[in-house]
Symmetry: C2
Subunit: 237 residues, 2 copies
Amino acid sequence: MVSGFREGVVCPQGLIAHGRGEAFDYLLGERTNPFAVKAIEASACALLTAERPVISVNGNVAALCAASVVQLSSLCGARLEANLFYRTQERMKAVKKALFAAGASEVLGGEEDEAIIPELFSERRRVSREGIYSADVVLVPLEDGDRTTALKRMGKKVIAIDLNPLSVTARAADITIVDNVVRAVPALCAAVKRLRLKERQALERILAEYDNERVLGEALEAISSRLNRLARGELHG
Amino acid sequence: MVSGFREGVVCPQGLIAHGRGEAFDYLLGERTNPFAVKAIEASACALLTAERPVISVNGNVAALCAASVVQLSSLCGARLEANLFYRTQERMKAVKKALFAAGASEVLGGEEDEAIIPELFSERRRVSREGIYSADVVLVPLEDGDRTTALKRMGKKVIAIDLNPLSVTARAADITIVDNVVRAVPALCAAVKRLRLKERQALERILAEYDNERVLGEALEAISSRLNRLARGELHG
C-alpha cells in the first residue's frame, strides 16, 4: 500500500498507476536488473554534466521515495519541482510538505513565476520558469508519455524511471531506467556519489556509449524469459 | 478510472489491484482471447450444472460490472453475495446498494446468519451460511489467492476471473478466465444463454474435457509472444 494516500499526496489515479507498476515489477523479478544498472549509470552522468538539472516530483514519487529524491537533488545539484497531473492547491501543498519533511530546502512549483509547456493539456503543463521550463536535463520518475514527449520537443534531455519498457515514456525518454523508484533512486544516488569524482570527459564517454533502445530490448527479453520460466514452474511466484 | 471510488465502493487497495490488472490486460491485447473463450464456456457449464451456485462480489466487481453480474445471476440462478477483504459496514452497504441499483432482487452478505471460512484471517472469512458457505460452485471475479485456496479446501468448485495467469488464484481455481471482468462477465452471460438449452450430459462433457492448466499455459504463451512482437515494433502500444 502506498503511504501518503491519507495525507492527500497520492490521488486515486496514482494508486491505479502504482498497481500497473507492481505488475511489471513482478514480471521483472522485483530487482534492479543489469539493464537498469546501465541506465542508472548513464543517468548519473547526465545529471552530473547538466547545466540546470531538475527532478520533477509527483504524488507517487513523494509518497514512495521523498527522502531519496531529496538526497539525489543535493548530491547532483538538481532542483526539485512539484508537478502534478491532477493538480489542486491541496495536493501541491501535500507533495511539497512531504519533500520538506524529507529534508528539502527548496521545492519549486505552484507559487513562483510559471510558464506553459506547449502541447500539454492537463494542469501539468504549468511549470516553474526557473525550474523545468529552463532545465536542460529533467528526471521524471513515474511520468506519462504525453509529458515526456512534450519535454523532448522542447529540446530537453529526459531521464525516465518506468517499470513498463513498452510505455510511451519509456520509448520517448533519452534514458529509461526500467526499475522500481524505491530501488532506482537510491541506486542513482550511489552512482552519482561514485561518478562525481570522475572527470567530465569520462562521464561524457559513458553517456555517448549508452544505447537506450538496446536497454529497452534487454528489459523486454528479461520479462519474456522470466514469464517462460514461471510458466515452466522453475520459479516461485 | 474505476467509477464507484467516490461512492465508497472501491477501496485504495482495490485501485492498486485494478492497476495490476490493467498491466496484464495490456499484455493480453485488451481482448477476450481464445483461451478465455474456452474457460468462459466451461464456466457457463459449471454454473448451469451447479446445485447452489453463488457469485461473490467485491468492491471492484460492483464498480466495474454490477449490471452484468446481476444479469448473470438471474440467467443461471446464482445468488449474489457481497464479500469484502476490507470490510466495513459502510462499504458493505455501498456494494449492496450498487447491486440493487443494477437490478438485483437479493444480495447476501453481512446481515443474515454468518459462518466462518477456515484458514482465512481477514474479514472476508465471514460468509453467508446460505450463500458461499453452502455453495457447490462459487464464481469469484477479482479475488485473491488465499481465499480461492480456502474455498477449494472446503470442497467447492471455484471459477475465477483473473488477468494474471500466474497468480495464486489463477493456479488454484478449477476454471480460470484470464480476461477483464468487463468483457468476461457479459461473455459469460452470452455463453449461459446459449448453453442452457443443451442437455445436462452435453454440459458435463464440455466440463470434463476442460483443462485449466493448458488454458493457463496458452495465456502465458500469448503474453510472451505479444511482448516479443511489441519489442520488434510489429504492434502499436
